[in-house]
Amino acid sequence: MFSPCRNPERWAAATRLLPFALVTVLAVVANNASAQQDTAAPEAQHGPNQVFVTGLFPNGGAPPPQDPIGARFEGNKLAIAAGEELFSQMNCTGCHFNGGGGMGPALMSGHWRYGGRIDQIYASIAQGRPSGMPSWQESLEPQQMWDLAAYVKSMSVAAFPSSSHSTEPGTSVKP
């Protein structure tokens, strides 16, 4: 159904706006196109192989190559969204809050105790870590732990600047 405006001035204004309307339609189409890529949710039936949690290797060896499975999850919007939901549902927020940390360490600071690669994050979730982090491999499927790892990985941003003193320690100042 299309009925032109009876008011000619309005009709002229609408015609002038037509190119913008077309551009908007094109933009919506483009958005849908990029969203199409993310509808392909990555799947996994198992965790990564050979995850290391230290930068030390015997005889100056190199770290093992990353399991390609992790690359499918890293940066994937659907995996990150699913991981974010799990992050609340499994009460990860109870210790890590929204990435800033609390009882548990910060996850967005870029400082990693057991490695910040997505397969290392997976291993920390699956295996648990000392002093509080439980192991989740008995209660979560590998797919869910990959989603969680993708979300945790997505939180990480550049480190916060370290402290600075206005007055050097060890100084006595007269009031």
Partner: protein, 156 residues
């Protein structure tokens, strides 16, 4: 696929009260039931306090200042910048040489100090049950530590 209970998004928040200062040091008159003097402190006061027979009261701040104030008036008499925030308890004792010493542990921590001690990220104000939002500046004001400072009173 398993299903899980919805626990909810953690979004606690906290902020400084009226006046904007996050701590204050108050001398109470328990008989009259009122404050005699009050020192407003920018950061929360997490340290213990100690009054001496010499008429001084000692306390420490979370940015590392160890302070001595006049017990009667609250006037600042002396302060010393230690290496880390103070949440410890000042102690005075008579040494084997018969002189008086004042000791304080410097090393920030506790709930309000967790942002430094636990290397939390101040960009998430909900962290540490909302204390991250209150203490977001502490990383710029002090560093983790663990040092015992002992001061000798002037020998007269």
């Amino acid at each position: 696929m398993k299903t899980y209970a919805w626990i909810g998004r953690a979004s606690p928040s906290a902020k400084a009260g009226p006046g904007g200062n996050r701590g204050e040091f108050t001398a109470w008159d328990p008989v009259e039931g009122k404050a005699v003097w009050t020192i407003k402190e920018d950061l929360p006061l997490w340290s213990g306090t100690m009054a001496t027979a010499g008429g001084l009261v000692f306390y420490g701040t979370m940015d590392g200042w160890f302070k001595a104030v006049d017990a009667k008036t609250g006037e600042l008499k002396w302060q010393f910048r230690t290496g880390s925030g103070i949440i410890g308890q000042p102690v005075a004792y008579r040494g084997p040489d018969g002189h008086e010493y004042v000791a304080i542990l410097s090393g920030v921590g506790g709930w309000a100090g967790a942002i430094v001690a636990g290397d939390l990220d101040p960009r998430d104000p909900t962290g540490a049950l909302g204390m991250n939002g209150v203490m977001a500046d502490l990383k710029m004001k002090t560093a983790p530590g663990g040092t015992l400072y002992v001061f000798a009173l002037p020998k007269s």
